[in-house]
Structures are given as structure tokens and as C-alpha cells.
Symmetry: C2
Subunit: 224 residues, 2 copies
Amino acid sequence: MVYRRTHQVVKRLAARRSAILSAARDAAAAGGMAAVQIAPVAVRANVAAGTVYRYFPSKAELISELITEVSRDELSAIRRAAEAAPGPSSALAAAVTTIAVHVLSQRKLAWGILAEPVDVDVTASRLASRRDISGELAMRIDAAVRAGHLPAQDTALAATALLGALHEALVGPLAPSNLEDPIKLRDTVQTVTLLALRAVGVMDARARGLVVQATTPAKALVGA
Amino acid sequence: MVYRRTHQVVKRLAARRSAILSAARDAAAAGGMAAVQIAPVAVRANVAAGTVYRYFPSKAELISELITEVSRDELSAIRRAAEAAPGPSSALAAAVTTIAVHVLSQRKLAWGILAEPVDVDVTASRLASRRDISGELAMRIDAAVRAGHLPAQDTALAATALLGALHEALVGPLAPSNLEDPIKLRDTVQTVTLLALRAVGVMDARARGLVVQATTPAKALVGA
DNA sequence: ATTCAGTCTGAATAGTTGTTCACTTCTTCA
DNA sequence: TGAAGAAGTGAACAACTATTCAGACTGAAT
């Protein structure tokens, strides 16, 4: 007498799993990683605490998967923006702007993914997240270098530094406060993008142009 | 019968206090903030766990004071380096280089002070630490702007971004690995300094010169 | 020498959450 | 329909450390 999972059950299981992940994501977006606790997440997902453990072996795994998921979404958004740009420099500008806008529109979540203290070990997935996004940026910088728009440089280190600059300036404890104001927000995004482009060697005048170009389509994102 | 603390006792109390702080600092330098636990710190300082609480009301206070102390030392080193420089641009370069070198020579401690997850709330002292150092950088940037060496800009935001770039590139999880090699280390310091200077608008050629100037005296520090 | 405020000790306590597991409920299949 | 395996439940448990506190000790004052 073999028990076989019927299609309906498989679907329900999958739905539950993503409901739990989704609840975790909501919690993180609302209150940072500190708010991602098993009991509250279980309540949000309409299951018992024990059930969470039928889907994730530990809290660390749950959070790791959350980080991976958010990071994957982010990476694809960056790729999309960069690929829509006309040339390598524009692509780099678009990538930077996309990161800035996304990070700003989900500050708590971004902080949680990136740097917030968590009581379990999630260094591996955080590392992977950073590596993916930094790697993507590095590729874009490299493309601009190969196109002759930028001086030769250690692109990996540069990409890492840019990420750090964006994060600290936008979600760090010293980040500007009144970023609810959309104008202030746009200015901030432009400023950090300009800073980032100049850092890798884009000439000032050209950088300004790229920033404006890159920021314009991103307005839609800011609105969302 | 009034009990009055004799000079000797006062000295002993002060010595104990700083022994505890010092033990905490050693622990943090060796194993990050995670290693700053009351019992081990007490052992290192040759006192009992309870005694720690006669000097610091809580672990949070102990760590906060540790952060403040390290931060104060760092700030004065930055000031010293900047003030020894011949002009505002050199001063900025010197400040950036000093931060980079210090952070690299005490990686675990720096990571602990800046960003490592801690189980108690130390946001206030971390904020103060960042504000002080970022403020100092902002002043240096501002001086260079006023001297006409840099374009006008949001100096506070720029300073914050530079700090983020330095930290992420040098002690973040993606930081280059083999920084034990002094040559690699010097190159890395030069690269990030160059990146930082270009970010705020120093022209590339001029930036290279400033980096070399600023890195040369810092060699002594690297050796230390 | 004696007293006692001040200091130190370290085992016991406490509070917090992730994790488990004996039991219930649901689903499959003969 | 009923037997058996899967999934779900939630109260109890476990582990980890910061913190406490009753009693021991130190040394200043008389």
C-alpha cells in the first residue's frame, strides 16, 4: 500500500512553503530580520510553529532562503535595467541606479538582507548575495573598461566598494532621513550614482549625463 | 566613621576598570564582538563575572564604551594624518589612507565596531562613531571644495558613501583575501584611496599623485 | 584590635526563542 | 469504509548567557 502524493497535495505543500517564505519576507520588510521569528511567521502563514519545521530544517535555512530569493529578484532587476541600456557606460549607470532605487524603496528589507544582526548564522547566503550582485556590477565595469570608457582597474574591488558606498549612503545609520520626499529621494539617488560613476573613472561631465539618463526611466520604480 | 577612598584604592579601581575594557578590546580584536562575553572577559581581566557589573551597568554599556574608545583613537589618528598634509586635497587623501590602513591592520576589531551582529543594542555608539568619522571626512572634503579643488557637492552624503566603500572593500565579506602580503595590502589601500578620491571629483591624474603621496608615510603604519 | 562600608565572588537565576515530539487530523488506497 | 502513512499541532523543552545577590573578603577609620 504505497501512499502517493496527489497533484492537489503537491500544490498545497508548495503553496504552504511559499506562504511561509512570504510571511518571513513580509515580516522582514516590516520590522527587519529581528521580526523574523518562528512563532510570528507561523501565525502570519496560518500554520503552527512546528509546521515551519516540516518545510525548513531551521530558522537559519529559512532566512538563508529568504536572502537568496530577494537577492535573485534584485539581480534580475539589475540585469534587466542594464540590458535595456544603449551602451556599456549607460548599462553601468543603469545598474547602479537600479540598486539605489531598489534599496531605497525597501529599506528595512535591504538592511535585513545586508547587514542587520541576526541570531543565526546566515553569513553564507549573505556572502553569496553580495558576490552575485558585486559580480554583476564588476562585469558592467569591465565592459565599460573594454569599451575604452574607463581606465583599467581592479573591477572586483571597485564593484565591492561601489556596493558598500551605496549601502552605507542609502540604508546605513547615517543615511539621509527624509527620503519619503520623492524629490529628495531622486536627488539622493542621482548624487550617489554620480559618486559611483566618478569613482570608477567616468569623467565628470559625461557622468552627469549618464546619471540623468539612468535616473529618468527609474522614476517609474520610485513611484511603485 | 566615614569611609574615604584612599588614593591607592582609587587607582586600583581605575586600573580594574581599564583592565576590563582592555580585556574586552583584546577579545574583540581576537574574535570579534561575538567573543566579548562577560565571563571570558572577566577571566581575562582577572576578576569575577559579577565584578564586571560593578564597573559597567550592562554588557551593552561595556561594548558601547569600547566602541567609543576605539573610535576616539581612530579619529585622532585621522586628524593627525590630515593635519600633517600640505594642503586640503592631500589632507583628504591622507585621511582616507589612514582609515584604510587602520581598518586593515585591525580587521576583526574594525568589523566588530562597525557592523558585526551583536546581541545587545549598540546602535547609539555605532552611530556616534560613524558620525564622528564621517563628519571629519566631510570637513576635509568641504575644505577641498572651498579650495576649488573639487566640485560643489553634498559633502555629508559623499563622506558617508566613502566610508561605506572603504569598509565594504576592506573588511566586508568580499574583501580581498591575501592581505597579509604587504605588497598586496599597499596596492589595495592605493586602489581604494584612488577610488574614493575620484568619487568626490578629484581628477584622475592628480588623484594618482595624491594617492602615492598619502600612501608613502602610511607605510610605517602598515609595518606596525 | 575591631568595626564596618565598600568591594569582590561565582553559583544560581531568569528570560528569551529556536526546536522537538507525542498526539491529532488529514489523505490515500485497497 | 477502514487501515496506514503523511502532515500538522502546540505545549513542553533546551540551550545559551546576561544578570543578580547573599555571603566572603579587604582595608580604612578609630
